[in-house]
């Protein structure tokens, strides 16, 4: 589907959802659901909690769809709601004194099948270290890294979702990369990706 056709489909689905059609809302969200769940899982680190956060986010989005105006892309609007919900869940967890767990599926690096066992093990070590490093970042840094570097959103899109200016977002991203780089070490990064 061309970008123009996709935008038209999205506009039509938004209009139908705003008229109260649940099926249209589900179709609209369905276009982004897997990525949305992946982002939330990477932020909260726990599948059950991620599902709760996404469910609650979608309920908020459904209740607020009438107020959605096409000033931003639908996915930007939806991600912003989900990010707020994830932050709420993380704050609640912080108050309860629990840290972010590491879900085995939160970060997946594909190791090419032709690699030998030693290289595969190295790759697995890097993956685990990366998971830990991302999980140990404070939420604002983790969010910046996940949106920009893992999800591949543009700086503009990611900053819009977080609700800060592009310069402030870049600074946050820079700090997050430095922290992860420090945690992993240059040798591991260069060996694991060479």
């Amino acid at each position: 589907m061309s970008p123009r056709a996709a935008a038209r489909t999205e506009r039509e689905l938004v209009a139908r959802a705003q008229a109260g059609e649940v099926a249209a809302f589900e179709e609209l969200v369905g276009l982004h659901a897997d990525r949305l769940f992946a982002v939330v899982l990477r932020l909260v680190g726990d599948r059950v909690e991620a599902e709760d956060v996404v469910q609650e986010s979608l309920l908020r989005a459904w209740r607020g769809i009438g107020r959605f105006q096409a000033r931003s892309m639908f996915f930007t609007w939806l991600y912003r709601i989900a990010l707020n919900e994830a932050n709420r869940a993380l704050e609640k967890r912080g108050r309860a004194g629990r840290s972010v767990p590491v879900d085995d599926e939160a970060v997946q690096l594909a190791a090419p099948a032709h690699e030998g066992p030693a290289r595969q093990a190295e790759h697995e070590e890097l993956r685990q270290a990366l998971e830990l490093a991302i999980a140990s970042l404070a939420p604002p840094y983790r969010t910046a890294l996940v949106l920009r570097d893992v999800e591949g959103l543009s700086t503009r899109e990611a900053a819009g979702i977080v609700g800060i200016g592009e310069a402030a977002f870049k600074s946050r991203l820079h700090q997050a990369r430095l922290k992860v780089r420090d945690a992993l070490g240059d040798a591991a990064l260069l060996a694991g990706t060479s």
């Binding site: 769940f37 899982l41 979608l58 459904w62 997946q108 870049k170 780089r181 240059d186 990706t193 060479s194």
Partner: protein
């Protein structure tokens, strides 16, 4: 270095850093490490961690169903 990798530096600052990194082992290694990190993280983007569970619309459906029920109920019931 992150700003360099992002392409945020102006031509002069970029060139200065590149010339410096040719001489400075630490900075050259640092640039390669940040590039490697970004490449590794980007590499995960096309592999969603897990598909969204089937139940993500449960709350929406329940609310929509309640709303329909309220509309269908006779006035005064």
């Amino acid at each position: 270095m992150s700003h360099y990798v992002e392409g945020d530096l102006g031509w002069l600052a970029r060139r200065r850093l590149e010339l410096h990194a040719e001489e400075c082992i630490d900075c050259g290694r640092g640039i390669r490490a940040v590039r490697a990190l970004v490449r590794v993280l980007h590499g995960t983007a096309n592999r969603p961690a897990a598909p969204a569970p089937a139940g993500i619309f449960d709350l929406v459906r329940a609310e929509a169903s309640r709303a329909r029920g309220d509309e269908d109920r006779p006035h005064g019931a």
